[in-house]
Symmetry: C2
Subunit: 99 residues, 2 copies
Amino acid sequence: MAVTTLTTEQREKILKPLLSSGWEMVENRDAIIKKYSFKDFNEAFGFMTRVALKADKADHHPEWFNVYNRVEVTLSTHDCQGLSTNDIELATFCDEAAK
Amino acid sequence: MAVTTLTTEQREKILKPLLSSGWEMVENRDAIIKKYSFKDFNEAFGFMTRVALKADKADHHPEWFNVYNRVEVTLSTHDCQGLSTNDIELATFCDEAAK
């Protein structure tokens, strides 16, 4: 089944909680971004490695930027040009991995 | 010894070759950037992992952006606010790792 963007109901139910926990909508784009800060590079890249394994397994990849202890993760779904449930799942995993 | 920015002579001898091999000066900043393209995310993140280990060992870290098979690496030295020999070394390693 083709990936589709989140419905209005899904945005209310599963996107909104993320937007209350540090994720933000990207300007002019149906995408979300979160800026994580870690103790050091070791922790930051450890986080990235966990997310990378998860992402590649799900064949759904982040756009991300890292410098030293900071990681900025942007999520959106290429196939539907917007947010899908795949992004919600990966965002939730990112939050878990960053704990 | 404090890290210092590259001298004019060093820029000629060790920076110039990098600028002939895909590295570019960042606009308005004493930093270099290179955009690598890999087969897929597995290769791209494999490259990042090798660079991450090297960088953390040398305590000299990249600024980098990744989406799927693409990795953009920016190098500059925080302590001297510009390019140092640490950047030349890490740039050279990146090129090796990307082969």
